[in-house]
Assembly symmetry: C2
Homo-oligomer: 334 residues x 2
């Protein structure tokens, strides 16, 4: 790289933390983990054309590259602290880096995350963020603690990001065009959720001691609740009519599409968690204090697999579980 | 990805560590940093065609992707503990992952590094490793501690990896061809250094309390010693005849080329460090116990910049400081 991109980002992402003994600028960062806390570490990569469409604004990409990692920390009930950024760019593009840094810094400041290291390399556009956080020893939320008989909850609303992606794919226009020409209120809301997902950090912290298992919804509810079931060796039933769907999604799609998007669409970064049903009132009140609402959507069962039930309790055929790759949208557009 | 590559790697890289409370398989890893230790964190990316030639064996790539990060930890005097791996692959290639995992695991086992998390994505071949280690609080080696009057040292030998790269570039053949057809002993040694660099972990640990500043030689001696000078606000003089050069490099190149490769060639992953000259005997003895030799190559001066001196103490014109990008070798071959 012709100029030091990480240095440029460092200037934009200055977050003062007393636990950073040495930040960007040496061979490695030196960080302080207080006694009684466990370190929580995760890494996620975004690849152009796979995880985001090619004309995504750099600021949105900066935000999202951190958001997807903070979402993983949130799912553990961890408090985010530090991040490392590995950025591969086709060329040293100062405007790109400035925009990226702005979006990254905006979210980092919101959660007091210090950028403590990174690497910039030349190559196809790929962003890998490693996020580090902390949780009191033994208090982390995991995927493996769900028990038969417990209730299943999800924060916020599901399907918005997948709805935005489907709109892009079906309309054949780009994100920037859609901003300018098709910015009905509902679509704006969906795009906002796709481009600037808000990791449920406060909710994750609030759920410590309350949730028995937790995961973030990145691949889609069915897939991610499936991970909880596998790790916990249980099954689950989901009531399709209970799934929380936003007004924006309802305004943009018919009911069948809304349900499919809520069940299988990924990229929402809500938390799906389990807890004894009798905790519901406490959970709702605690989450409300954290600025988050949640919905009870089903129950954990003995056995394995997920059944989706209609209003009369009949099992429905479930749509494919996977996540709609951005590459599909891209393939249609090129 | 069609199958879970990280799971496949996990099976190959099982290192038992009591400080991994939760490893691969949840939203994030849970790790224990003992009281009195600082966490040391770094990340480095390898891009196909930039940091390694396209026909590099997967096992070599696995080794090197971890080695370059352990080298950064070594330069801090840190003991490596954990790694996260973000791997972007054009397709879910089981043979590639098996080979990569073997090389990665070989080096990880040597240094008791546990792979605790990762992400696999589809896209152009790019590998980002985040390495985490520990150092007793306040004992880390940094770039900023050098003082005028101190001596400059370097471990091992310089220029071998750059020599291998130059051979590839000049001969126009690939790595695998060179293995088979041109494997003279000296060239094998150079290729080994390029493909399987040995991070100086033991030397880094041994230098705690002895070195005043330290860096690993990844971009080339002039560039990396330059980083120490900048961070420490000092200059340096390097005696060209003192530079340690391997027998293998001497056998393959003339003296002028050897010197240029030793001064400016990158990718050797030796440690360059500073210390009071009177510590030399203690340092050499301590490093010898750690299985490493070092050479005194110059001194830190007041002021700024690096002067390279010949046997008579005259300043020489220095070659370009940068690192020879693999992309040059590739460009010549395609």
């Amino acid at each position: 790289m012709e100029f030091d991109l990480i240095e440029a980002l460092r200037a934009r992402t200055r977050v003062a933390r007393g636990d950073v003994a040495l930040g960007i600028g040496d061979d490695a960062a030196l960080l302080e983990v207080p006694n009684g806390m466990q370190l929580v570490a995760c890494t996620d990569t975004l690849v152009a054309g796979v995880h985001f469409v090619a004309d995504t604004a750099p600021a949105d990409l900066g935000w999202k590259s951190l958001a997807v990692n903070l979402s993983d920390l949130a799912a553990m009930g961890a408090e985010p602290a530090w991040a490392l950024l590995a950025m591969t760019l086709p060329e040293a593009d100062e405007a790109f880096v400035a925009g990226f840094g702005q979006g990254f810094a905006e979210l980092a400041a919101r959660h007091r995350v210090a950028l403590v290291g990174g690497d910039t390399t030349e190559g196809p556009l790929t962003i890998t963020v490693t996020a580090l956080g902390m949780v009191p020893t033994g208090e982390a939320l995991t995927r493996s603690g769900a028990h038969a008989g417990e209730a299943v909850f999800v924060t916020g609303a599901l399907g918005d990001a997948a709805g935005a992606l489907r709109f892009l794919r079906d309309s054949g226009i780009g994100i920037r065009d859609s901003d300018q020409h098709a910015a009905s209120t509902c679509r704006s809301a969906l795009f906002q959720r796709m481009l600037r997902p808000g990791p449920r950090v406060a909710a994750g912290l609030a759920l410590r001691g309350l949730a028995s298992a937790c995961i973030d919804v990145s691949d889609g509810l069915l897939a991610d609740l499936g991970h909880v079931c596998t790790a916990s060796r249980v099954g689950a039933e989901v009531e399709i009519e209970a799934l929380p769907v936003s007004e924006a999604l309802r305004a943009a799609f018919d009911e069948a599409s809304c349900r499919e998007l809520a069940l299988a669409g990924g990229d929402d970064y809500e938390l799906c968690f389990t807890a004894p049903g009798e905790s519901e009132a406490v959970i709702m009140a605690t989450l409300a204090q954290a600025g988050c609402r949640a919905t009870r959507i089903g129950r954990i069962t003995a056995g394995s697999g997920i059944r989706v039930l209609d209003a009369r309790g009949r099992a429905l055929a479930t749509p494919r579980k996977g996540w709609e790759h951005f590459s599909e949208a891209r393939a249609r557009r090129t």
